[in-house]
């Protein structure tokens, strides 16, 4: 016995045969008023998750002011023609439910989760929020004040300042350049504007209702029809967006935060959206570069050099344009050293083929993690939503793993050459100018501003 267990303990066990990954059926339908519906069964717990998406967000109304769709979403839960704010909150609790309303660049959404036995009541409340929000004046003034404090506070967060700067540099006149409103813009938000946005974009033609959980699709469809059929409204007209900036050459943008004891680095360049045929290739390339714990970037600047706690890279696939970015919060002394390694790893992937074994590891990682969405209701919802909102093929979930596994070292190298555009990466560093300016200037022409986005040099 002792011999057997000693042997067992010194060699890495091989993987046993893989169980088939079976994605549950997505039951799709559409009401006469245009509302798209997708229902998915997942009976792990007696609850369900749902989201009512509207296919327009802050970008669609950014010509009026940044963040207007977000403020509209915020107001949606503060009162309806039938229920005051307090009633809404207590009713949610009575249904064992959570609910949030928000808007990103491309969508607005009412997200909710609760007990299956109260699904009809919760959907009734969601319907009411989507159709009968009353925008009470005192609630707007309260939310406005909270938003004003929030926009002041976000200017003290290094991650926010870095992201804001990068988006501005990458997108220029395009709506995606603006991630948050200025105080004066929040102060000037008008109730009528918010109500117009609500009327125009919270419509069934613009909507997708997605439910995942302990539900019977047939019965649930009947419930949905009963509740949402009387709703009506057209798809909103979305103004044409200006082309994004296309910055050439590396430039460095320093956001000066006096007294910062660490530097937030964020580098980025344009890449692609999820609908692009190269998306899965870029996903794998990113995963191998800096998208996983076991990635080159993390191994280098965290595990070998100890410069940072949480380096990572990612692709942000907004609907109209996507961008690739690399981030790390590093100690002030190693800003230049970290940037050197970030670019070294980018250029290495562009120049040399990935060894087969490393590629196989990355393929296994990405395909394994992708399937983990199966195991929870909210994981499933997020996967199904991604497919639906990006209008990906119906069998996207089923074919993803084999597509990942079919990629070759050549695919990765050509993808890196196309999209890890190191020569044109824009570099943002947020930190104390006195400690990092000379290091930052080594990487390109330097522009310095303060946390309020005022140009300093």
């Amino acid at each position: 016995m002792a011999t057997a267990s000693t042997q067992a303990s010194s060699a890495v066990p091989t993987l046993s045969g893989e169980r088939t990954v079976n994605w549950p059926k997505r039951v799709k339908s559409k009401l006469a008023n245009g509302l798209e519906i997708i229902l998915v069964e997942s009976h792990s717990i007696p609850r369900f998750h749902g989201e009512l998406f509207f296919r327009s967000g802050n970008a669609a109304v950014s010509h009026l002011a940044p963040g207007l769709a977000d403020m509209t979403a915020t107001m949606v839960r503060t009162g309806t023609s039938k229920r005051a704010s307090r009633q809404i909150e207590e009713d949610l609790r009575r249904l064992g439910a959570d609910l949030s309303t928000s808007a990103g660049q491309d969508t607005s959404a009412i997200a909710f989760a609760g007990l299956s036995e109260f699904a009809e009541s919760l959907l009734g409340l969601v319907n009411e929020l989507a159709r009968e929000a009353s925008f009470p004046d005192p609630e707007l003034e309260r939310e406005r004040r909270q938003k004003l404090e929030e926009v002041k506070l976000e200017r003290t967060q290094p991650g926010f300042l870095a992201g804001e700067r990068l988006r501005k540099v990458l997108f220029g006149e395009h709506p995606y350049a603006k991630v948050s409103p200025a105080e004066a813009q929040v102060a000037a938000y008008k109730k009528e504007e918010l109500q117009t946005i609500y009327r125009q974009s919270y419509t069934p033609e613009n909507a997708l209702l997605l439910l995942v959980g302990d539900l019977d699709p047939k019965a649930m469809f009947g419930t949905i029809e009963k509740i949402f059929a009387p709703w009506s409204g057209k798809k909103p007209a979305i103004p044409h967006a200006a082309a994004p900036a296309n910055p050439r050459g590396r430039r460095v943008y320093l956001v000066h935060v006096p007294g910062a004891v660490q530097t937030q680095i964020l580098c980025g360049c344009h890449s692609i959206t999820r609908r692009h045929p190269d998306w899965i290739k870029l996903g794998l390339t990113n995963s191998l570069y800096g998208g996983a714990f076991n990635s080159r970037l993390v191994m280098n600047i965290r595990e070998a050099k100890g410069y940072t706690y949480s380096p990572r890279s990612g692709v942000t696939p907004l609907q109209q344009h996507g961008y690739f970015s690399v981030s790390a919060a590093v100690r002030n002394e190693v800003v230049a050293a970290s940037l050197t390694e970030i670019f070294y790893e980018l250029d290495k992937l562009r120049s040399l083929p990935v060894p087969e074994a490393e590629l196989a590891d990355a393929q296994n990682y990405l395909s394994g993690v992708f399937s983990m969405g199966l195991a929870t209701q909210d994981g499933l919802l997020s996967q199904v939503a991604t497919v639906a909102l990006n209008e990906l093929p119906d069998d996207y979930l089923e074919t993803y793993r084999q597509e990942v596994r079919a990629l070759t070292p050549d695919d990765l190298q050509s993808t890196a050459q196309k999209y890890l555009d190191s020569a044109n990466m824009q570099i943002v560093v947020v930190g104390d100018r006195g400690k990092i300016e000379t290091q930052a200037a080594l990487f390109g022409e330097l522009e310095i501003c303060d946390s309020q986005a005022n140009r300093l040099s």
Binding site: L15, T20, E149, N294, Y309, S371, A375, G379
Partner: protein, 438 residues
């Protein structure tokens, strides 16, 4: 409202390792956790932050899996992994496609058996941890508020009152000898529980546990310092300067009843009455109605997972034009109300439905979309290590669902007293700074 009926099987190996298996073949995914009964509360004096630094060292190499091998083997099996240090436990966990179960167990057993790390690994992770502290605390507005601010103000026993992330001088003083001593003292099969949840058959799980962990020698029962506090006779207050943020903030913490005492369930529901989202009395009164504050949240951090003094803590970010005193008076009115007047049966019923619903949600997920059953794992681990009874997962709800309005009022009177609380004032150092730059 019926409780869950989760299939749970458990046994203890000859070396004292507890093994708990909760099979569920719905998805081809298995979640594995190893919990050690040592957290940052009882780390060695003079070594603040050590339990957490040590957690990082557990990823740096073991007898047969050198540095990076552990992470590489999990990721390349299609899985994710992490660890976290809490007050009274430290966990290491993985979620992987179920065909990687043997590999995960082998890895966890290898690092339970022998840690193989050197000075370079220690220096590397000390640097990483310092950046973790900077990114989460020192370079963030309201970093560490109030979880690092509160302990030295609220408590007198070093175990509860020290800096859990670690003073940098203490991190620097930590040596490789400290690492091995800590490992030999606490990282023992008889001070741990192994959890296997999801796509596994119980007999297979137990047999693999025996195969990989069975020959790890038992160690002497670890010594645990007394975490109890001397009696508190006064309200405690302290001030912490906010370096970056723009709003004055206050945190109020009340010491909780002992876990699993008769008052514990009533306290949990009182916590929900006060902190349960936007319907909770604190948010409703201070943010939505009186509009003293622009944000108010908090509550009991981990009602099932503490094994020493713990608090229910409220965080309030108040309007600068309203004084800290007036804000606190507004908060005290909310507290006064639950002490003077029973909550209605209707409110209590709402709280119970929400509690029940939240409990199920916690079991299923609980830590992001990519760590299935994290919550179930955590509960099974705490019920094993603290109570010796993992099956409590299926019955613990009953006590909460039987709480009466009188019991809620009684715990409000007994625990929400000034002599049982501590207050942290975190005011911006330079509230005008934001204007100067313009």
């Amino acid at each position: 409202m019926k409780g869950p009926q989760i299939a749970i099987e458990n046994k203890t190996l000859a070396n004292g390792l507890r093994v708990v298996i909760a099979p569920d073949s719905a998805a081809p995914v298995v979640t594995v956790g190893v919990y050690y009964k040592i957290g940052f509360r009882l780390e060695p004096q003079g070594r603040s932050g050590f339990a957490h630094l040590f957690e990082h060292m557990m990823f740096q190499g073991s007898a047969n899996a050198p540095k990076m091998e552990h992470i590489k083997l999990i990721n390349s099996s299609g899985g994710v992994l992490n660890g976290s240090t809490m007050y009274d436990v430290t966990n290491y966990y993985e979620a992987v496609p179920s065909n990687a179960l043997s590999r995960v167990l082998w890895l966890e057993a290898d690092r339970m058996r022998a840690l193989k790390v050197d000075d370079e690994n220690l220096k590397n992770q000390r640097d990483v941890v310092k950046e973790e502290v900077r990114v989460n605390v020192l370079n963030q507005p309201y970093g560490g508020f109030p979880w690092l601010d509160m302990p030295p103000i609220a408590f007198r026993n070093w175990a509860n009152a020290h800096n859990f992330y670690g003073d940098f001088a203490d991190l620097d003083a930590a040596s490789l000898a400290d690492v091995q001593t800590f490992f030999k003292t606490y990282y023992l099969p008889n001070n741990a529980v192994l959890l296997i949840l999801g796509d596994v058959k119980p007999e297979e799980g137990f047999s693999l546990a025996e195969k990989y962990f069975g020959d790890i020698p038992r160690g002497p029962e670890p010594p645990f310092a007394d975490p109890n506090e001397p009696p508190q006779a006064e309200e405690r207050k302290g001030h912490v300067e906010e370096k970056f943020g723009t709003l004055p903030a206050i945190a109020i913490g009340y010491v909780l009843p002992k876990r699993r005492s008769a008052e514990w369930c009533a306290m949990a529901l009182l916590d929900q009455a006060l902190h349960g989202g936007r319907a909770g009395r604190i948010y409703r009164d201070l943010v939505l109605e009186k509009q003293i504050a622009v944000e108010a949240d908090g509550g009991v951090d981990d009602i099932f997972g503490y094994n020493g003094p713990a608090q229910m803590t409220t965080r309030i970010f108040h309007k600068p034009e309203i004084s800290a005193g007036a804000t606190l008076a507004g908060f005290d009115e909310v507290i006064h109300e639950v002490q003077e007047k029973e909550i209605s049966t209707d409110e209590l019923e709402q709280l119970k439905i929400k509690w029940w619903s939240d409990y199920y949600a916690m079991l299923e997920g609980g830590r992001g979309g990519y760590m299935p059953k994290y919550g179930l794992m955590h509960l099974l681990a705490c019920f094993s290590l603290f109570d010796g009874e993992p099956q409590l997962v299926n019955t613990i709800l009953d006590g909460f669902l039987q709480v009466t309005p009188e019991q809620v009022q009684a715990v409000a009177k007994k625990y929400l007293r000034r002599e049982n609380r501590a207050i942290v004032f975190r005011a911006p150092a330079n509230p005008g700074a934001q204007k100067e730059a313009a």
